[in-house]
């Protein structure tokens, strides 16, 4: 426990320095507090609105977690399909790349038209944004299998499916999870975009929605407090996934010498 605390020390120190710079920048009157509140004001807003922020975090967290799972599933499935079929690769890959350039606002109305004001259109937006890193890393992971290994399997009379099942699929697993880690950081932004682009009904519409509303109402410090919540949420998710990767693919850390 003590060692772990020591491990986090550099990050804590860096945050402290950044907060100090920020605080003095605002206190010296360099900027209007409606544009940039000081850290202590954000802290106060965080404290006073804890319940409100927590209630808004719940739908956002649901969107992010479900969205990342959908992105992991769809990105992985598409990667496998692309890997196994060169024709599909030529057909789908350019579209997948292009899909990342489509501004969500363009299709937001269509998504609402199709799926209403619930969670579904938001999940579609997050999945659309997040499947791509999973797709790219998984395609690379599948292709990274040593040709010698495939030759070896061929001399064991392995079928194409068996080569996939015994060699390529397990090799791609850590790559897919790495992709999901990248996707996760984007997913939080994705949730914000989804919430601000697709309207929601209900008392707690999510942090993204809330940030938009607060900024319009010049409640800047509460908007910043919400951003801090998203910030911490993203970090938590990232390390949870890293932990999952260690459990699911412990060998990957050995060969990469990767630490957190």
């Amino acid at each position: 426990m003590r060692r772990r605390a020591l491990h986090a020390l550099p990050a804590i120190a860096l945050v402290a320095v950044l907060l100090g710079v920020w605080e003095s920048y605002v206190d010296l009157g360099s900027v209007d507090r409606l544009i940039l509140p000081a850290p202590h004001e954000v802290g106060t807003a965080l404290w006073q609105n804890a319940g409100f922020l927590a209630s808004n975090l719940k739908p956002t967290a649901e969107e992010v977690v479900l969205g990342i799972l959908l992105a992991l599933g769809s990105g992985f499935a598409l990667a496998v399909a692309i890997h196994l079929s060169p024709v599909l690769r030529r057909a789908v890959y350019p579209l997948a790349v292009g899909s990342q350039a489509v501004p969500i606002a363009v299709i937001a109305v269509l998504l609402i038209f199709w799926w209403g004001f619930g969670i579904l259109p938001k999940l579609v937006v997050i999945t659309l944004i997040c499947f791509f890193p999973v797709l790219v890393t998984t395609v690379d992971g599948l292709a990274s299998v040593d040709p010698e290994l495939l030759k070896l399997l061929r001399t064991f009379d392995a079928s194409r499916w068996q080569a996939f099942r015994f060699a390529e699929l397990p090799a791609a697993l850590p790559a897919a999870i790495s992709g999901a880690r990248i996707a996760l950081t984007v997913a939080v932004i994705g949730a914000y975009i989804a919430e601000s682009q697709t309207a929601t009904t209900g008392a707690y519409a999510g942090l993204g929605h809330e940030i938009d509303a607060d900024l319009t109402a010049l409640q800047t410090s509460r908007a910043y407090a919400a951003a801090v919540v998203l910030f911490v949420f993203a970090i938590t998710c990232f390390y949870t996934l890293a932990l999952a990767e260690r459990r699911l693919a412990p060998w990957a850390h050995r060969s990469r010498g990767d630490t957190r």
């Binding site: 030759k151 001399t155 397990p170 693919a249 050995r254």
Partner: protein, 302 residues
């Protein structure tokens, strides 16, 4: 007589390509024109009926390579001739070492025999072959035992039975206690042992070892020579050992075929015929090594 399906490309992405044209790689021994490849069922049948090795061990070779040539496209669209009119043979349960300078087409030869490539001219008749590459290619997510059992799993042997059979070989070949180790926990020599057991468990009567000890240090390599000699005494197989280490060839093999520099052809064949286990310092071994080196030198400066 069962014929082998043909896999005509060296390109691994095409290893499972749909090419099913005529093959000039043939399993079993029916001399004659190039065989037509059969469907998968035939190949599976070949797997179920391993050739009776001992019965016809005396008179029929397990490997018969006749006048095989192979080239591949090099830089600037120049065809590089890897093998030119090469012929060699190995009897059942014989260990034939193939030595030659780097780039003389040794690996190409093994891939032809394993059916991973097809020859342009000539024919190959051989028993079904399994490959053991220079790098161990153990799967990092499997234990040593599960790695060794890979070929059995591919042959749809149930997991428990595959592990039992691999475990028996582990015990017999001095690998007991390493069953649950992960590949990254094993030394280079141990990994090659597991890789060899994996090839052995493929059930193929012919094992093609492609510089299996090339990446090991000298002491480990000498240990591996002793180990392999013992392993083959317990589990006799026909072995084609490709190496650039002349000493290794003489210490291990029944016969040594010396290849010339590219394009590879056989320039000398040495009968070893010494008692096993052999010592590197045995005067007979040293003398044979010198003969092989002279043949190798003559072949490469041609």
């Amino acid at each position: 007589m069962a014929h082998r399906m043909r896999w005509p490309c060296a390109d691994p992405s095409n290893l499972w390509g749909n090419a099913r044209e005529g093959s000039n790689v043939q399993t079993g021994i029916t001399p004659g024109p190039a065989a037509q490849s059969q469907d998968r069922a035939t190949r599976d049948r070949a797997r179920e009926d391993p050739p009776a090795r001992d019965r016809d061990a005396e008179d029929t070779p397990a490997v018969l390579v006749s006048g095989v040539s192979r080239s591949y496209p090099g830089r600037d669209r120049v065809q590089v001739q890897a093998l030119a009119d090469i012929s060699l043979h190995a009897a059942a349960n014989e260990l034939l070492a193939v030595v030659g300078p780097s780039g003389c087409g040794k690996t190409t030869l093994l891939e032809l025999i394993c059916g991973l490539q097809s020859c342009e001219a000539g024919s190959i008749e051989c028993a079904p072959a399994a490959l053991m590459p220079q790098r161990d290619m153990l799967l990092p997510w499997l234990s040593a035992l599960d790695n060794a059992a890979l070929a059995l799993r591919v042959a749809r042997v149930p997991r428990a039975e595959a592990r039992t059979r691999a475990g028996e070989l582990f015990a017999e070949l001095g690998l007991a206690g390493f069953e649950q180790a992960r590949p990254y926990e094993l030394s280079g020599g141990m990994r090659q042992r597991v890789a060899f057991v994996r090839t052995l468990l493929s059930g193929k009567p012919l094992l093609c070892l492609d510089e299996p000890f090339g990446a090991l240090d000298a002491i480990t390599r000498a240990e591996m020579h002793t180990w392999l000699t013992d392993a083959l005494r317990r589990e006799p197989r026909t072995v084609l050992l490709v190496t650039h280490d002349v000493e290794e060839a003489v210490v291990l093999a029944d016969r040594v075929a010396v290849l010339s520099a590219r394009p590879g052809r056989v320039v000398a064949e040495l009968e070893v015929g010494l008692e096993r286990p052999r010592s590197r310092t045995d005067p007979d071994v040293v003398a044979l090594r010198e003969r092989a080196l002279i043949a190798l030198g003559a072949g490469s400066t041609r």
